[in-house]
């Protein structure tokens, strides 16, 4: 039995495999970051657990399918897909917040939960109605196909691109949250909403903007994920779970936490699949439970 375990872990010796898995883990982590950053901010500011976040991600992916489909393989088509998905989801997010979410901020938790669940059901079926029930694929833009050599190893270029985008978004978010007035309000809101409105800040539009931003990030994540996943109606089901795990571990309301936890989960999953295929999934839930029991505000969240 020891032999088979040793065999299972033989890859550890192989730096190429390790490097590849690390890259895969980090790039997946970046996608996860895009979804969970939004989810975390939405919880931090609006105090709502947005179960519909996975569907928003999926909408981004489907939008990318449609937009790239207009000019497949080209850079222009791809860029327009990224912009279209982000902007489109920002608009959808704003509409949902204004039309529905606003009404239940003061309701007991079970009503908030039901509403976001309802959105999952509704939007999930709307996606089926618009884009059908089959899996779609998105062609990777010419510019980003193939591999790149670095450190004696070949990596898929697209994955490197994902990491670059992830870093860029993380930096941009940090700049917005720490260097703009709006960003400071957002961070203050995650700590004390009541104080903020007492200071005369228009919290209504702040909430709308935060939700729209979260949705836009999810949409961007979906569009970026489109070339490497099967874009079908079942896409959102697993995504939201991963996002929850990340947000809990990282700390609800913390973007830095979302980044740290996404990378952690991404890398653990990447290596977990090699080492103990079935257990990686159980492991992530176990970690989630442990965090909630021991330190519910996560690694970087603010204690209530």
């Amino acid at each position: 039995m020891i032999d088979s375990v040793v065999q299972q872990l033989a890859w550890v010796q192989n730096p190429v495999v390790v490097a590849r898995q690390l890259l895969a883990g980090v790039s997946n982590g970046m996608l996860l970051f895009l979804i969970s950053a939004g989810l975390s901010l939405i919880f931090g500011v609006l105090r709502i657990i947005n179960f519909a976040h996975g569907v928003l991600f999926m909408f981004g992916a489907f939008l990318a399918v449609s937009l790239v489909g207009l000019a497949p393989g080209t850079t222009g088509g791809f860029v327009s897909a990224l912009i279209g998905a982000s902007a489109g989801l920002a608009v959808l997010g704003a509409l949902l917040e204004i039309g529905l979410l606003r009404r239940i901020y003061r309701s007991p938790h079970e009503y908030q939960l039901l509403l976001t669940f309802a959105l999952v059901f509704i939007l999930g079926d709307v996606a089926k109605l618009i884009w059908g029930r089959e899996d779609n694929s998105v062609v990777t833009p010419q510019l980003l196909t193939g591999s790149t050599h670095a450190f004696g190893v070949t990596f898929p270029t697209y994955r490197l691109f994902l990491i670059a985008v992830g870093v860029a978004v993380a930096v941009a978010l940090w700049l917005v949250l720490h260097r703009t007035r709006w960003g400071i309000f957002v961070r203050a809101a995650t700590m004390d909403r009541g104080m903020l409105s007492a200071l005369g800040v228009n919290t209504r539009w702040l909430f709308t903007a935060v939700f729209a931003l979260g949705a836009a990030l999810a949409g961007l994540g979906g569009a970026l994920a489109a070339p490497i996943v099967a874009v079908g109606p079942g896409l959102h089901v697993q995504v939201i779970i991963d996002a929850f795990v990340v947000v809990v571990i990282g700390g609800m309301g913390s973007v830095l936490g979302a980044l740290a936890a996404s990378l952690l989960v991404g890398v653990v999953n990447a290596f977990g699949i090699l080492a103990v295929p079935g257990a990686a999934v159980v492991l992530t839930f176990a970690i989630m439970a442990v965090v909630l029991i021991v330190r519910p505000h996560g690694l970087f969240g603010t204690p209530e």
């Binding site: 309701s107 079970e110 039901l114 509704i122 999930g124 089901v237 839930f285 029991i293």
Partner: protein
Amino acid sequence: MIRLAVPALILLGLPFALSEFWTFIAIEVLAFALYAVSFNVLLGYGGMLSFGHAAFFGVGGYAAAILMKKAGLPAGLAFALVPLAALAVSAAVAVLIGFLSVHRSGIYFAMLTFAFQMLLYTVALKATGITGGDDGMTGLKPPGALGRAFYYYYFALALVAPALYVLYRLVSSPFGITLRALRANPRRVQYVGVNVRAHQLATFVISAAFAGLAGALFALSSGNVFPGWLNWTASATPIVMAVLGGVHTFLGPALGAAVYVVLEVLISGRTEYWPLAMGVIIVALVLLMPEGLTGFTRRKDA
């Protein structure tokens, strides 16, 4: 007592009036009514929102299935043990999960129960040897005449009615009134001498046990159980039924369950977009009728 006579007669007479298909639906209603009412003991009376209650419904279903198919017992004996097994296994799992979860309150409690449900879902999905994995377990058939909907209905009624009565006595008892006080003011209730965590744990376990019984009943009636019963999408079901019926009355959730099940049958029969319909109904419920169907008969002290 007289007030119960009419509904009791209706319940007893239903299988004579309904087709076999609709008797199956009636059985489903009974199971889900128990599920919803026991869930509401935790939510409406205890003020504890669990995002992971479907775990217990599923555990009960799997307990029944494993007992019938994997325990190597004669069908009759296995079947006779199912209710007790479902109660016991669900309660045991709930003791573990509850013990770890009730220390937290509000949203963290909800997320914890959710995490544990996902854990159990993964187990159901991966432990292929015991649980049949992705395919679930099928071909569950009650022995003899009970395999027919007509007779199984009475079997289900014979379990659900007393179970509901037990829960009713529970919420009307000192335990129940203390639970309501706990929901109203957890800090204050400590100061009168109540051990809040212990009380919450007990409520959690009882609620889970009866949810498990409901799951077992449904598994044997529908003939199968799947990992999907424990997937996160299923955790909304008891909440929808309870809120739809009204969380402020004891039997409100039972009405919610009946409406929910019947709506599902009618709508799924006509379109594949039942989720869309359900989503719209939920939105309407939350925005327009948050007190649920029995909202007009709110308990005076709710």
